[in-house]
């Protein structure tokens, strides 16, 4: 038998992860917008413990990073690994177990964080029972992904495609980081204390913190970029050699950066300086990667005019290039002295999170939706509308934070003619009000875009299902 049989993919579970991702995108950006509004108008806290800024901020970060980001990564990883290895998943059953366990964990995360159960480590707040549960889900994910590649037909697919390498970096490093940073001694079901203290705890926390950005929010999403940009542009990736360099320098280099979060603190100076120097060097691989994606479009740039999905993907690379330039600048000690502790940091995170992570995910999800449900989108003009809402919302957000951050930094260190501090802290808080309002507006625009996307997806799926039924009756 020599006929080419198209492999049967396990797309049911990919569909489930994809939908869950967009539902959480709407929820997560809504929580964020509400938390931002609380800083502009504090009465919105309504003296209610569960929604005060301190707790809602954490619910927001956990929802967007783990619920939205995690679901996107799981959807795309399973989508890509099947297609690049020409075979179904190693275990479809385990993938479904992973799906339900992960969603249950996320639901419990939102509830426990609202109640105030927290390890109080930034981006790693979940208390130990949930912490362990998430680690197990992650190991399950890693196992299924790895075995799918290991069991591929090596005659047909001798090489592992580049997108998968980046997913590997994500899977391995996040397991490593999550486990080490979570080491703690439980004192009750709802409370544990970090095993480390002081300087070591700070270093391990930011080693985790920056690599959560570098691996969870970058490596995995670069895997997405390396698959979906060439697919959507219908061209091969610009340079294979560049992607090899991009991969290994990212794996080796990113891990050093955490220390730049602790400059001028009680962390010994050598660690912070080391972190800053390598941060600067990281511009090269990051820009190499961004160019690799963008140049894939060489000779096909005109498609940006008509292909709205490609617009999301290319805009995301522009933001990736922008924030990977901004990051090293902020890591330089003299800039960090001004920017640290200010809103500039928040703006930087969001230019990466909204501009890069969310946009590349949105592009990939639109692409996948059409392939998975074998249909056109319900409305292309709504995608274009979403693109502008997301772009303008992101720009509003980061411009507001640049201005407020730099202003804060300058006000705190300003002296008057008599050599005394020019402003009280409260004056700097009052000066932030207009920018906090502007940020909230940016958030509303971005959230509205996410809601438009969810609507468009639901209508697309309904349309596809109706057509299926018609075909079945015909």
């Amino acid at each position: 038998m020599d006929t080419v049989v198209k492999p049967q993919y396990n797309d049911g579970v990919v569909k489930a992860f994809t939908l869950a991702a967009i539902v959480f995108l709407v929820l997560g950006t809504f929580f964020g917008t509400y938390a931002a509004s609380e800083l502009a108008w504090p009465f919105l806290n309504f003296d209610t413990a569960e929604i005060t800024f301190g707790r809602l901020r954490v619910i927001h970060t956990n929802t967007v990073i783990y619920a939205f980001g995690g679901n996107v990564l799981m959807a795309t990883a399973f989508y890509i690994v099947q297609r690049t290895n020409g075979r179904p998943l190693y275990s479809n059953k385990l993938a479904w177990v992973q799906f339900f366990a992960f969603q249950a964990g996320l639901l419990l995360a939102v509830i426990t964080l609202a109640l105030g159960m927290s390890q109080a480590k930034e981006y790693h707040e979940l208390e130990w029972p949930l912490d362990i549960a998430v680690a197990l889900v992650w190991v399950l994910f890693t196992f299924n992904f790895t075995m799918t590649i290991a069991e591929r037909d090596k005659q047909k697919v001798p090489h592992i495609y580049v997108a998968n390498w980046f997913f590997f970096g994500l899977l391995i490093m996040v397991t490593y980081l999550w486990v080490l940073n979570a080491l703690s001694v439980p004192v009750s079901l709802f409370r544990s204390y970090s095993l480390f203290s002081g300087v070591q705890d700070a270093m391990i926390q930011w080693w985790w913190g920056h690599n959560a950005v570098g691996f969870f929010l970058t490596a995995g999403f670069l895997g997405i970029m390396y698959y979906f940009v060439p697919k959507q542009a219908q061209r091969p990736i610009y340079s294979y050699r560049l992607s090899v360099i991009h991969f290994w320098s990212l794996m080796f280099g990113y891990v050093w950066l955490g220390a730049h979060h602790l400059q001028y603190t009680a962390l010994p100076d050598w660690v912070g300086s080391l972190g800053a120097v390598i941060s600067l060097a990281m511009i090269i691989p990051s820009w190499g990667g961004a160019l690799n994606g963008m140049l894939t479009l060489s000779g096909a740039w005109d498609r940006l005019r008509t292909d709205y999905i490609l617009r999301f993907l290319i805009m995301s690379l522009a933001f990736y290039a922008m924030s990977t330039f901004e990051g090293p600048v902020m890591a330089a000690k003299s800039v960090n002295a001004l920017s640290h502790y200010t809103d500039w940091t928040i703006g930087h995170v969001h230019s990466g999170a909204l501009g890069w992570v969310a946009m590349v995910s949105i592009g990939a999800v639109y692409h996948m939706t059409m392939k998975l449900w074998k249909t056109e989108m319900y409305s292309m003009s709504l995608i274009n509308f979403h693109f502008w809402l997301a772009t303008i919302g992101t720009v509003f957000y980061i411009v507001a934070m640049w201005v407020s951050g730099i202003m804060q930094g300058l006000m705190w260190r300003a002296y008057d003619d008599y050599g005394t501090l020019a402003y009280t802290f409260a004056e700097s808080v009052a000066a932030m009000h207009p920018y906090y309002v502007m940020r909230a507006i940016g958030g509303i625009l971005f959230t509205a875009g996410a809601a438009v996307m969810l609507y468009n997806m639901i209508m697309t799926i309904r349309m596809a299902n109706a057509r299926q039924t018609q075909l079945a009756h015909a």
């Binding site: 109080a120 001798p158 592992i160 010994p268």
Partner: protein, 259 residues
């Protein structure tokens, strides 16, 4: 195309998924080892263990020399007292302060308030002497924070009265009109003896866990830990915690604690 013998390392990684896994794990481990491991054995990670050129400790006075002294006890009038005085050196938190830190962590105060003063002139004038690593050796986890939506709290202890803190936490805008801080009225209603779902807040277990990790509590401290938080509210506890911040060490402006 059939599988061929790999021509170089990269080809080997691309053909063998387990080799790729191993290579990646190796690449990400280097920085982790170089930047983190030395912090556990180098003397100058903390100021109280840093040595000068002749090998003598430079600032051993930063740590409380406890000896037979008591961290907390009930005096004849039935009030809680301590043999430690502000400035005697870094000591473990009392059970009430530690319970207050639990509340501080539950409400995520550290997302808006740092506890880490940097060595700049303006920060010195606004908040006080720059923070030392030694000041957070008993902080499991550390609470340095990363953002100042509100001011730094590393040396807030003793700067305001307990009554000021109470009124401020009940309604921040009543004292600081520009403030964007939420109000925390529930702290005054909840007993610190209760934990989530009305379970008991077991300070004994907490101190034992801390001792396991090297915080020098005595058996007596542990035995009396639950007694020490009796009758207080969450508000009392968090104020007790804030009032000790930055007061443990007396710092000499002319001394260089850190290079």
């Amino acid at each position: 195309m059939a599988a061929q013998k790999p021509k170089n390392l990269q080809e080997w990684f691309e053909q063998n998924v387990f080799a790729l896994m191993f290579g990646t794990a190796l690449a990400v481990s280097v920085a982790s080892i170089v930047e983190i491991v030395p912090l556990f054995y180098l003397d100058n990670t903390y100021e109280h263990t840093a040595k000068d050129e002749s090998g003598n400790l430079k600032s051993p006075e930063l740590l409380w020399d406890r000896g037979e002294k008591r961290l907390f006890y009930k005096d004849e009038a039935g009030n809680w007292a301590s043999d430690w005085k502000a400035g005697d050196g870094v000591r473990p938190f009392t059970p009430l302060e530690l319970a207050g830190k639990d509340i501080y962590m539950r409400e995520h105060c550290m997302y808006c308030h740092s506890q880490m003063i940097r060595p700049f002139r303006d920060e010195r004038e606004r908040y006080g002497h720059y923070s030392l690593g030694t000041e957070s050796i008993y902080d499991h986890p550390f609470q340095w924070g990363s953002k100042r939506t509100g001011p730094d709290l590393a040396r807030v202890g003793g700067k305001f009265s307990n009554e000021w803190h109470y009124m401020h936490l009940m309604r921040p805008q009543a004292l600081v009109p520009e403030s964007v801080m939420p109000a925390y009225p529930w702290l005054a209603e909840n007993s610190i003896e209760n934990d989530f779902f009305n379970t008991k807040r077991d300070m004994k277990a907490r101190l034992e866990a801390m001792r396991l990790m090297g915080v020098p509590y005595t058996q007596e401290d542990i035995d009396n830990a639950n007694e020490h938080i009796k009758g207080y509210t969450e508000m009392d506890a968090i104020i007790a915690y804030m009032q000790v911040l930055g007061t443990m060490v007396k710092l000499d402006d002319n001394k260089v604690y850190r290079e």
